[in-house]
Amino acid sequence: MDNNFKGNERILHHSLPVRLFHWCLVLGFLPAGFTGVILFFRPFGEAGMHLAMQVHIVGAWILMVACTLFFLLCPGRVVAFWREAFHWTKQDIEWMKVGGGYPQKMIFLQEIDVPPMGKINSGQKMMGIMVFFGTLLIILTGAVLYFALPLVPKEIAYYADRIHLIVGLGLFLCICGGHIPLGIYNWPEFCSMFGDGTINAKHAAHHHPLWTQNEIEKIKD
């Protein structure tokens, strides 16, 4: 594609399975994360902590089922994500050096030139790798703590608990401190993910020039 789009043309940025998966992450990870913090600090009485644990378990089930189904039913998207997240070039390093121009935009209200990005930028690649392995770890360790606590030796239970706590807290902080604020800041992208999945083509060509040049195609009438 040559990136010369008309003003009102739209691109399907996130397909329905991807949006449903993302909704499941919101409905699964966020309640599990909030209640995980509550379970760590134990601010409530017995009934409150019990409720927090029940919400934590329901959130974890949603997360686990959603991830499993997405892996099984949408392997193409998983492979596409994997290829993009692990493909780092000099442009990514340059992008990271200037923080994608976000500090300049958000603090000094100035736009600077940044290297062209694909569907996800270098910060999202870094976040994606952390979320990929982090989620895998919290699901595996959570499954040990939920299904097999009386069966496994004490050492396994201890390390599963530590890994679940540290990785879970780390991910929750990254999501709440980075992903959510930046997602809301990039409002058209936010609307695309939580809405009909489409994005204005000119906006996409500005923010994802490599993606619009190489990875999209016109729909046949």
Binding site: R10, V144, Y158, A201
Partner: protein, 101 residues
């Protein structure tokens, strides 16, 4: 149609498919093997410990604590009875829940 463009289909080549399947199989197999091995080991130690306790028990001439001559001597010397208030005070233990990590 609400949009004019979409992403090209992602094609997974045979090498990528085999790589993914291999990595997933290896991770699952290693995890399952490690956990199974640890549980088998733990069960083995519990069985060995149980056998050792039975073996110790079989060697004893008197196998019940209320027949233990040392204990009977102690009660006689200290001048109190099993299950007496003093025995309760000295020997009774309380349950502590250590299941919470």
């Amino acid at each position: 149609m609400r949009y004019s463009y979409k992403e090209k289909e992602v094609k997974i080549n045979r090498r990528e498919f085999l790589g993914f399947a291999g990595v997933i199989a290896a991770v699952l197999w290693t995890g399952a093997y490690t956990v199974t091995d640890l549980i088998v080991d733990r069960t083995k130690y519990i069985k060995m410990r149980t056998a050792g306790l039975y073996q110790d028990d079989e060697k004893q001439a008197k196998r019940q604590s209320h027949h233990n001559q040392s204990l009977l001597n102690m009660y006689k010397k200290m001048n109190f009875q099993p299950l007496s208030p003093l025995a309760e005070e000295l020997f009774h233990t309380h349950y502590v829940d250590r299941s919470v990590l």
